[in-house]
């Protein structure tokens, strides 16, 4: 890790070699740095105007430059602002003999070679600017800079990558935060951009960018004023999700409003829900209880809430028919909610006296311990009707098969796609995904709730249209070998994936 120190702040720079190397590979610290002082002790230091490009150098290169100077050779300094400046102490020797001339020639050639090597070091990038990344949580800063003039210089090898440093104080310590590889789009734009992530909110930051080429690392382009991040009110990346939310929820609210105004709504028949009454009636006739399992998740799972909603309907029917509903739960909060629901159902049915809270109880949080208890209960009590409504995992088939073995009429509903085949195979009626969530509206028959089902249909229409568009674009891209269709498809995927 390397950090540049603010040479511009110190206003000093070396002309012989004019490169400052720090002995520490980790941090380069500013105008008062050891490296700068070391160079100052050996070479003449002249003030450098702010913004004039400086060069990175290695200690070896500085040593070579000094050796060449001592030997009396011609040393051409770095390119500064495009002009070549003679080194202050360098001079052209006067040759008095052939041997001296030969020595001078060798030294001159060495110096020229060294200068050429120095020229491999790219010039620094320019006009570095930074701004807070818009529409984010205040942890990103956008950087933009003009490419180094040597960005694409074929003679010097060009720039291999840009290195970004971040500091908290202008003349303080800087740490490397990113390496930006060369991108073909940079050539076209003549500038590069990069977003630095992981910044602290409202913390002023300074940045420096250097160009790294085959010959070394350029002096940094510096940010004069600090930039700080701010937390925005809205997360821009979530825009597509927000639009979808409005598109999907808007029709739901719209149809609810329409239903309240008296618009007639028709809902298709769902056999699984119509059979609830039949199942409870059967249990009453047989004099056996109904068993209701609300899944094995807690109340923060929407499937559990949907399951408890159906429990309300089952409990109402049970209260009306004088049947018994037993609800073993695997979560304490579900037990509490289920008790409230069943009590209210009995109250609504005019049978508060028939409500028995002891029939709704907590068993255990452990998945298979719960299954062991419930299957044991089923084998002993032989309920006439079993309802599995909620979130299920591996226990789904164990429960459903046990219910099947005891000859109970079984109804299941879950949004766990992997468990649906098991329920379909072992239960009499299964509510597949959305039917499970539609149960509350279906069973209540209230216009408010039926309106929400109609709104869902609009959502399906939107999704269906997007699926068709996607298929169309993918087919066209395949047929035409990519092109504009592939671009459209990629853009679509990109937006939808956000």
């Amino acid at each position: 890790m390397t950090c540049w120190q603010g040479l511009a702040a110190s206003g000093l720079t070396s002309t012989a070699g004019n490169k400052h190397a720090c002995s520490s590979p980790s941090l380069w610290v500013g105008g008062e740095s050891v490296a700068a002082r070391r160079v100052a002790g050996r070479n003449t230091l002249v003030p450098r105007s702010r913004g004039a490009p400086d060069r990175a150098a290695t200690p070896q290169r500085m040593a070579h430059s000094a050796a060449a100077s001592r030997a009396g050779g011609v040393l051409l300094s770095r390119r500064a602002g495009g002009a070549r400046l003679p080194v202050k102490n360098a001079h052209l020797p006067h040759f008095r003999c052939g041997a001296a001339a030969a020595c001078a020639l060798v030294v001159t050639l060495c110096a020229v070679r060294l200068t050429a090597a120095e020229n491999d070091v790219p010039r620094p990038p320019r006009n570095l600017s930074a701004s807070d990344h818009p529409w984010d949580g205040g942890d990103k800063i956008d950087l933009r800079w003009q490419l180094s003039p040597d960005h694409n210089d074929p003679s010097g090898g060009g720039v291999q990558f840009y290195r970004i440093f971040r500091g908290y104080e202008r003349d303080g310590e800087f740490e490397e935060v990113a390496l930006v590889p060369i991108d073909p789009s940079m050539h076209a734009a003549g500038e590069a951009a990069f977003t630095v992530e992981g910044c602290k909110r409202q913390q002023p930051y300074f940045f420096r960018v250097t160009a790294v080429g085959a010959g070394g690392e350029s002096a940094p382009a510096e940010l004069v004023d600090a930039v700080e991040t701010r937390r925005q009110l809205f997360e821009g990346r979530k825009l597509v999700l927000a639009v979808f939310l409005i598109v999907l929820c808007g029709p739901v609210l719209g149809f609810i409003a329409a239903a309240r105004r008296g618009r007639p709504l028709r809902v298709r028949r769902i056999p699984g829900l119509e059979a609830v009454e039949e199942a409870v009636g059967r249990a009453t006739e047989m004099g056996r209880p109904c068993l209701f399992v609300a899944g094995i998740q807690d109340m923060n799972d929407i499937q559990t809430i949907a399951g408890i909603t159906i429990l309300g309907r089952v409990a109402t029917l049970a209260a009306q028919n004088d049947a018994r509903v037993e609800v073993p739960t695997s979560r304490s909060l579900v037990m509490t909610a289920a008790r409230e629901t069943v009590q209210a159902a009995y109250l609504a049915a005019g049978r508060p006296d028939a409500y028995n809270p002891d029939l709704i109880y907590y068993v255990t949080d452990d998945q298979f311990a719960y299954v062991a208890y419930v299957t044991g209960l089923m084998a002993r009590e032989k309920p006439a009707a079993c309802f599995y409504m909620g979130s299920f995992f591996a226990e789904s088939l164990v429960l459903a098969e046990t219910g099947n073995a005891i000859g109970a009429i079984q109804m299941a509903g879950t949004a766990q796609v992997a468990q649906l085949p098991f329920f379909v195979a072992a239960c009499d009626y299964t509510l597949l995904g959305e039917e499970f969530f539609a149960a509350s509206a279906y069973l209540s028959g209230e216009p408010d709730q039926l309106g929400s089902l109609k709104g869902q249909d609009v959502g399906k229409l939107v999704v269906g249209a997007l699926v068709c568009l996607g298929c169309l674009f993918a087919t066209l891209a395949e047929l035409t070998g990519g092109g504009v269709w592939q671009t459209v498809l990629d853009a679509m995927q990109d937006y939808l994936a956000r």
Partner: protein, 516 residues
């Protein structure tokens, strides 16, 4: 009102969570809501436990059918609760014990060591609180930052990282320089602010005690230092037959607090023992040998006499021997243990072979045990309940490992039989749809086993699409995925719609009634 308040809470909580997704400003609100749910769930857990006890005790009391099972449930519940809560048999956490140190309680406000440096406590832009490790010890007033107690290197680092400014770093450095124990006790005296204890590593000398006492003259400080001094003088002895190579000089080289009393045959330690001293003491008592290849060959011959020795095992002995020989002097017990590990991987060993091989290690056991007894005898236990209740070897762990897990696995294993019985019933070709289902299931089943490859793997490439494994993969990746996605889209829309109804209070049936 009974329904209105929960509805209100649900709506607020729900909208906060939705907002937290879209607005960075409300990100933390979502986390807060999740914490509140956890708190509620924890309270409900107690409720659940109480309910479980009530139900089963009632069943036992009424002698209902199956009350014996209830009795087993109640007993198991109580036993697990007890061994889990009291952490029975759970050793204290090693990172909390600070081995080799004694300690005495001393309140932070009684600590007379306060250091200050000119400067201001910075306020980080994101309003982060001070690091937890120094929060209690750092205070400030305009132009002055104070630190109570001694600052260690990790606290210094935490303070430096609190704010990147160089002015603040300078303040931290000034505080760090000041907030150090005096020279005779540097690196030994410590103050743990979180636990509010004054600690000392090793045995405190009278000089060290005086240096500490000279720091302040408050009664609390005097009492604490005196008690610490006394605690660090505690002596413990264990009976042991000292190894021949253990000389007084060797013991003194390990620690000046160690001694051997030949008259009583006791190993003596004054003051607490560090983990490093314990390790070195054990190593000092074990006979060291110069391993060479000949010794390896001798061992191989001995092993061969006592049972079969495979080529791989012989090669393992050679390899380990070469490695040990290169190391120079080594403990024989450790050497044979390493050899045993390699041999056990290379092949089986008979009981006689194991006994023969591990004899030196077994012989070293009394010495190891004696050192460990001494280590524990001089150790002042700091946080008895800091260990993990599931630590290996505890009763809780044993019950979980040998009762709970096998029972759970048994229940899970039954699933295989249920799958078979459900498949038998579901795949009966009663009509066209069921026949299609049966055919598809058959292809998938064959495609997922070796049978598919065996039956159709010979088909030439141009008929490759007829290979069962390919058809199986096609069905799963195209038809099955399409169907699954359709269901998932419906589920997603259903969840969105249901959530909206719940948040807006349109659907209240989960609260017991849709009417107030």
């Amino acid at each position: 009102m009974k329904r209105t308040i929960p509805l209100f809470i649900t709506a607020i909580g729900g909208f906060v969570l939705v907002l937290a997704v879209f607005s960075p400003y409300t990100e933390s609100w979502g986390e807060e809501a999740a914490i509140w749910f956890d708190i509620l769930a924890a309270i409900a857990f107690v409720l659940g436990g109480g309910n479980l006890l009530k139900m089963h005790l009632k069943k036992i009391s009424d002698r209902q059918a199956g009350w014996g099972y209830s009795a087993v449930t109640v007993v198991s519940f109580m036993v697990m609760l007890y061994v889990g809560l009291v952490k029975w048999g759970s050793p204290p956490a090693a990172n909390q014990e600070h081995y080799g140190e004694v300690f005495v309680p001393l309140k932070l406000d009684e600590l007379p060591l306060a250091y200050s440096a000119e400067g201001d406590l910075p306020t980080p832009p994101s309003e982060e609180p001070l690091p937890a490790s120094v929060r209690r010890q750092v205070s400030s007033s305009p132009g002055l930052v104070r630190f109570t107690g001694w600052m260690d290197a990790s606290q210094r680092r935490a303070l430096r990282e609190y704010h990147p400014g160089r002015a603040w770093h300078a303040v931290v450095e000034r505080l760090y320089e000041q907030a150090q124990p005096p020279e005779p006790v540097r690196e030994r005296a410590k103050y743990y602010a979180d636990q509010e204890v004054l600690a000392y590593q090793g045995r405190m000398t009278a000089e060290a005690r005086d240096a500490l006492l000279a720091l302040a003259h408050t009664p609390a400080w005097h009492r604490a230092v005196t008690q610490l001094y006394e605690a660090s003088q505690r002596e413990a002895r264990v009976q042991v037959q000292a190894p021949a190579r253990l000389t007084p000089e060797l013991l003194a080289g390990i620690s000046p607090d160690l001694a051997y009393d030949p008259g009583q045959g006791q190993l003596v330690c004054r003051g607490p023992m560090t983990l490093d001293v314990r390790r070195r003491l054990i190593e000092a008592g074990l006979p060291a040998i110069q391993w060479d290849v000949a010794r390896g060959e001798e061992l191989a011959a001995g092993l061969a006499e006592r049972g079969p020795l495979s080529t791989a095992q012989r090669q393992a002995i050679e390899a380990v021997s070469r490695r040990l020989a290169a190391l120079g002097q080594t403990s024989e017990a450790e050497a044979v243990l390493e050899l045993f590990r390699e041999l056990a991987v290379a092949g089986p060993l008979s009981t006689q072979q194991r006994d023969f091989l591990l004899a030196p290690y077994r012989a070293s056991f009394p010495w190891r045990a004696a050192v460990d007894r001494l280590f524990l005898a001089v150790h002042q236990q700091k946080y008895r309940w800091s260990g993990d209740y599931r630590a290996e070897g505890t009763p809780f762990w044993w019950l979980y490992e040998y009762a709970m897990k096998p029972l759970t696995a048994t229940m899970f294993a039954m699933l295989a039989f249920y799958v078979a019985s459900a498949a038998f019933r579901a795949f009966r070709a009663k009509n066209v749809e069921a026949t299609l289902l049966l055919a598809t299931a058959f292809i998938i089943l064959l495609g997922r086993t070796f049978a598919g490859q065996l039956l159709t793997g010979w088909l030439p490439d141009w008929l490759g699409w007829l290979r069962i494994d390919r058809i199986s993969a096609e069905i799963m990746s195209v038809y099955n995925t399409a169907g699954t996605r359709a269901i998932m889209i419906g589920i997603a829309l259903g969840i969105a719609s249901t959530s909206l109804k719940v948040l807006l209070g349109i659907d209240r049936s989960y609260l017991g009634s849709d009417r107030e």
